[in-house]
Amino acid sequence: MWVVFQVRIHGRGGQGVVTAAELLSVAAFLEGRHAQAFPTFGSERTGAPVVAFCRISEAPIRSREPIVEPDALIVQDPTLLHQVDLFGGVGPSGVVVVNTARRLSDLGLNELAERFGRVVTVPASELAREHLGRPLPNAALLGGFAALTGVVALESVQTAVRRRFPGAVGERNAAAAAAAFALVDAGTREVARA
């Protein structure tokens, strides 16, 4: 069982990458763990590559260095896949969640599945469009992440989401998270967890 779990989230400005890391940290906090979330920082600019980090730990977290060896990677924008070095530091047991409705082979990422512990695709933008009316994929991706890793429970993600976005917006995001969770859960149920 892990003591520290490190997640790195990639996306573009405007996609809620930073919020995703924050929500994940709140979800872990709600489960009684220590969590730390922070972005790489840049000027506010929609469309620019953004990276955010989340560390989850049983013990108080002291280090503040960027996460160089993530246990999990969440890719919110597949257009980054061949443009920047997203996968730096992800080890052979690392897991990757990619936001896409296409298959890995279509994206030219077949060897990825072999390099890492587990790689799943989640049509998060589509789920978001369905549930929120906007292609804001972060909540859905967190739902998928929860299903894939079990590091946080779906309910914790949903509570974090609802607290952050009150009312209907929160509910819809929570629903998107649940939908993604179900998808990934169904896909991995037969696979032994690493």
């Binding site: 924050e22 906090f29 969590a35 730390q36 922070f38 002291r62 280090s63 503040r64 160089v68 443009q83």
Partner: protein, 419 residues
């Protein structure tokens, strides 16, 4: 109550708990979330009575705080980097007049070249402006230090700046325990000014003082800071009693008692350093860390007491004195003059470059292995090739172009490996 929130929001709520009556705010990255949150609290009347001034510059922000404080109100503002410089004249004015203003500095590098990321060059540039300067290691400590700062400032009649690393702390989500209003009210009584503009008892504040008395007035400013060396631990102790956790004070020792090698630093990098210390200890290396919480006044005796027994002291600082060397390093050397330890000055994390455990381990291995010259300033993770290329350019042609642009082109930031 314990919550997982952004550092800026935590600080804003801590400040609000201290019941400031006037807040003046000019936005600058990375302090913006603090002043935005305070604006919300005032607008929603969660913080009342409080006047929130949308001033036109940092110079105006500090000036308004000066006017407000002189009129007897508890006054607060926040800034960083260029903003701190822009109010430099007013900083000296506030401390010279003995006004107990509290200010958050979200530490950020000073340009040129313009850089919005964290280092300590801003606060360090104002280390002698007469303000008390405290450094927070975590968002919890940032919260706690603001509470202590108001009390300290008002007891001393001296302004206090609370430094917290920009972005690294301000924009980090981590657990923070925010006290209840009643607890803060018990710890921080209403402001009772030593001097105040009151038509019932008119006073003249800010008169010119000539050669016949200026030295004495300035001596008093120094004496007040010396007083703070006693008061800071007192306030920290009172805080610990009231809120049940240690926070602030002059220094924080981490495994230094039997350490041969002690790393000295300020602010959030201490967290990373402590993990490195633990890892070294597991390898049998007797390492320790010393966090300096109060940089002004500087606790010379306490630093000497904490470090005097070590074989080597490695100062890791996020700023430096151009043309001479380290800043914190200089002060540490002063504290240790005549004492045994070898002191190494290391500059790290400038302009937001992450200070990584890997680099720290390599650094300490070099130090312990005797491969570093203690008389030379060390720049951690310096890309020598980049520097040498630029120097070659300089000697090659007169119109060599701006350094920053040349180096950025060399680094190939756009479309390159770095994400």
């Amino acid at each position: 109550m314990r919550e997982q929130i952004e550092g800026s929001l935590a600080v804003a709520r801590a400040v609000a708990l201290c019941r400031p009556e006037v807040i003046s705010a000019y936005p600058i990255s990375p302090q913006t979330h603090i002043v935005e949150a305070l604006s919300d609290l005032v607008r929603m009347r969660e913080l009342a009575p409080c006047e929130y001034l949308l001033v036109e510059s940092e110079f105006a922000a500090m000036s308004a705080a000066i006017g407000a404080s002189a009129a007897g109100a508890r006054a607060y503002t926040a800034t960083a980097s260029q903003g701190l410089l822009y109010m430099a004249e007013a900083l000296y004015n506030a401390s010279g007049l003995g006004l107990p203003i509290v200010m958050t500095v979200a530490n950020r590098a000073i340009g040129a070249p313009i850089n919005i990321w964290n280092d300590h060059s801003d606060a360090m540039s104002q280390r002698d402006c007469g303000w008390v300067q405290l450094y927070a290691e975590s968002n919890q400590e940032a919260v706690d230090l603001h509470l202590q700062a108001f009390r300290l400032a008002e007891e001393l009649s001296l302004p206090v700046m609370v430094c917290m690393d920009g972005f690294v702390l301000t924009h980090a989500f981590e657990p923070v325990d925010l006290p209840a209003q009643s607890e803060v009210d018990a710890f921080l009584p209403p402001f009772e000014p030593r001097q105040v503009l009151d038509p019932g008892e008119p006073v003249t504040i800010g008169a010119m003082v000539g050669p016949e008395a200026f030295t004495e007035v300035r001596y008093l400013a120094h004496a007040k800071q010396m007083q703070a060396l006693d008061l800071i631990p007192d306030v920290a102790a009172a805080f610990a009693r009231a809120f049940g956790r240690p926070s602030g004070g002059l220094l924080r020792r981490y495994r230094t008692e039997d350490a041969d090698t002690i790393v000295v630093a300020l602010g959030s990098v201490l967290g990373t350093i402590e993990e490195v210390v633990d890892e070294l200890r597991e390898q049998g290396v007797r390492a320790g860390a010393l966090g300096i919480k109060s940089f002004r006044p500087y606790p010379l005796e306490e630093v000497r007491a904490a470090l005097g027994h070590a074989e080597r002291v490695v100062v890791v600082e996020k700023a430096f004195a151009v043309g001479i060397g380290g800043i914190v390093g200089q002060n540490v050397r002063l504290a240790l003059s005549g004492a045994a330890p070898e002191v190494f000055d290391v500059v790290a994390g400038l302009g937001g470059r992450p200070v990584t455990k890997r680099s720290l381990h390599a650094l300490l291995a070099d130090v312990i292995g005797g491969r570093l010259n203690p008389h030379r300033l060390v720049f951690l993770d310096l890309d020598r090739q980049l520097v040498e290329r630029e120097l070659a350019r300089l000697s090659g042609e007169r119109r060599s172009g701006p350094h920053a642009e040349n180096i950025l082109r060399d680094v190939g930031v756009v479309g390159g490996r770095s994400y």
